[in-house]
Assembly symmetry: C2
Homo-oligomer: 285 residues x 2
C-alpha cells in the first residue's frame, strides 16, 4: 500500500499510472506537481490526482513513493528541486523512455544516487499526450522494465515492482545499457524513420497530392510520426549512442536493399522480404 504518491508530470503516463492505482485501490493519496496550474487543476477535475502543488518541495513532503513522469529533459531540474525534501526512506522511480540519461540526471540533481531510486520504463503509450489522454488500463498486460542500480535498495525495488504489478503490467528487469540498446532498436529508430519519411514527403513538390493517395498501410506506418516532437527530441538527445549505433546498422541494410533494387536482383529482395515477414509474423501476432 502506498500512503502518499507524488507524481511529477501528470500527463499521459503519470496520469494513467495515477488512474490505474486509484482504480486498484492501492494508494491512499495522490499529489501532482508540474509547471502549469491549469493542467494540475484539470487533473484534479478528471479525478486523476487528489491535490497538487506547484512547489516541488511541498509536493514531495511526506511522500513514500515519488514518480518522475516529466519529459526526459526535465528530470534533472525536478531532482535538484526535491533533493533536500525527499523522505530518506521514500521510493523514487521514473518512467523515462531512455534510462542512462535519467540515471545521470538523478545523480547530478541529488549529488549522489539516492538508495530509494529505481529507474523504470513502462513499454506503453499512445501518440497523444497530456492528462486528458490518460486512461487507467494503459499498462494492462504491457511490460514495465526496471533497471535497478548497484545503489538500489531492495525494499524500494520491491515497492516499485508491486506498484506496477497493481496496474496490470508485467514487470521485468535488465541493465540500463541493455534497456537503452533494445529500445533504440524497437522504438527510437522506428520513430526516427517515420518522422523522417513524413518530413521527406512533406517537403516534396506535390505534397497535397502525395498524401492524398496514401492508403491504410501508410497511415499505420506513419502513425508514430504523430507523436510529441518535444518528447522525441529529448529521447534522441538522451539515447544518442545507442540510436546512432542501430541507425548505422539500419542504413547499411537499407543501402543493400537499394542496391538490390538497382540491379534488379529479385532473388535477393525476395530473400529479405521473406525473412522479414517470417520474423514479424512470428513475433508480432
Amino acid at each position: 500500500m502506498i500512503r502518499r504518491l507524488t507524481i511529477f508530470g501528470v500527463g499521459l503516463i503519470g496520469g494513467s499510472l495515477a488512474l490505474a492505482l486509484r482504480r486498484a485501490g492501492t494508494c491512499e493519496e495522490v499529489v501532482g506537481c508540474s509547471r502549469s496550474e491549469d493542467h494540475l487543476r484539470q487533473a484534479v477535475e478528471l479525478g486523476v490526482i487528489d491535490r497538487y502543488s506547484l512547489d516541488p518541495a511541498e509536493a514531495v513532503a511526506g511522500a513514500d513513493m515519488v514518480v518522475l513522469a516529466v519529459p526526459l529533459g526535465a528530470m534533472g531540474g525536478v531532482c535538484a528541486a526535491i533533493r533536500d525534501h525527499l523522505a530518506p526512506d521514500a521510493a523514487l522511480t521514473d518512467v523515462g523512455s531512455a534510462k542512462g540519461s535519467v540515471v545521470d540526471a538523478v545523480r547530478e540533481g541529488f549529488g549522489e544516487l539516492p538508495h530509494g531510486f529505481v529507474p523504470g520504463h513502462p513499454i506503453a503509450g499512445t501518440e497523444r499526450s497530456g492528462v486528458a489522454a490518460a486512461f487507467p488500463t494503459l499498462f494492462q498486460g504491457r511490460r514495465v522494465i526496471l533497471t535497478p542500480l548497484d545503489t538500489t535498495d531492495i525494499g524500494a525495488l520491491a515497492k516499485v515492482r508491486t506498484m506496477w504489478e497493481e496496474t496490470g503490467a508485467v514487470v521485468e528487469s535488465m541493465s540500463v545499457a541493455h534497456h537503452d540498446e533494445i529500445l533504440a532498436a524497437t522504438s527510437h529508430l522506428p520513430h526516427l524513420l517515420a518522422f523522417g519519411l513524413v518530413d521527406s514527403l512533406a517537403r516534396m513538390g506535390e505534397r497535397d497530392e502525395i498524401f492524398r493517395y496514401a492508403a491504410g498501410g501508410f497511415r499505420d506506418f506513419t502513425r508514430i510520426a504523430s507523436s510529441d516532437p518535444v518528447m522525441w527530441r529529448d529521447i534522441c538527445l538522451s539515447n544518442r549512442e545507442a540510436i546512432l549505433s542501430v541507425m548505422a546498422h539500419y542504413q547499411e541494410d537499407l543501402t543493400m536493399i537499394t542496391e538490390a533494387v538497382s540491379r534488379g536482383d529479385g532473388e535477393r529482395l525476395l530473400e529479405i522480404f521473406q525473412r522479414a515477414k517470417a520474423a514479424r509474423d512470428r513475433f508480432c501476432e
Copy 2:
C-alpha cells in the same frame, strides 16, 4: 452492366472486385482463371466466381470485361495467352500496383496496345492474400487510379470507371509516370523501410529479446512488413526508377537526421519532428 467478367488471378484484389460487383448486382457472370484448380474451386465455393477455366483462351471467350489481377510478374504471360481470343470490343484492365511495367507487359503480350486496355490501380489492400482474404467492401470509399493511354478507347474507359464506381470506390485519373512516382513515395518506399527494419532487427544477435519489447508503435509501423514477399519483389522490379529516386531523397534526409542526433542538435530535430507531425496530422486523420 457487365455480361461476362473474366478475372485472371482470383486472390485478394480480384476476389474482392468480384464480390463487390456481385453484391452490387451489376455483373451477370464471373469467370475466374489462374494456375491452381484448388484455388479456383475454393473461389466457386466461397461464391466469388460462377465458374472457372484453367485455360486462359477459354476463360476469356465471350467476356466483355477482362481484369488482370495476377502478380505484376505474371501480367505478360496472361496477355500472350489471351492475345488471339480477347473479343475486339472487350474492355481490358488490370489492378497492378505499378503501371509503367504493366503497360509494357500488355504491349509485349499483345504485340500492340489493345484499344480496350485501361490501366488501373485500386489504392486498397491488406497484408493478407489469396481468395479467402477477399471481401466485398475492400474498395468502399477508397481511391482507384486509372491511367488511360493515348490508345485507350473512351467507351472502354467509361466502362472500367463505372465498374469501379459500383464497388464504392472513388475513381481518378492521372498519367502512368505520375502514378508510379506517387506510389513509390507513399507505398513502395514505406514497404521497403518496414521490410528493411524488421530484417535488420531479425539479424541482430538478440532478436527474440528485441521483438519481445516491441510496443504498439512497432506493431503498427511494421505491419506492412507482413505483406506478401513475392508481390513486393515484383513491385520493386517493376517500379525501379521511381523507387530509387524517392529512396535516394529519403536516405539523404535520414543522414541529415542522423547527423543532427550525432551532434546533439535538439533544435534541428524538433523542427523536423514538428513539421512531420503537422503534415501527418493534417493529411492522415
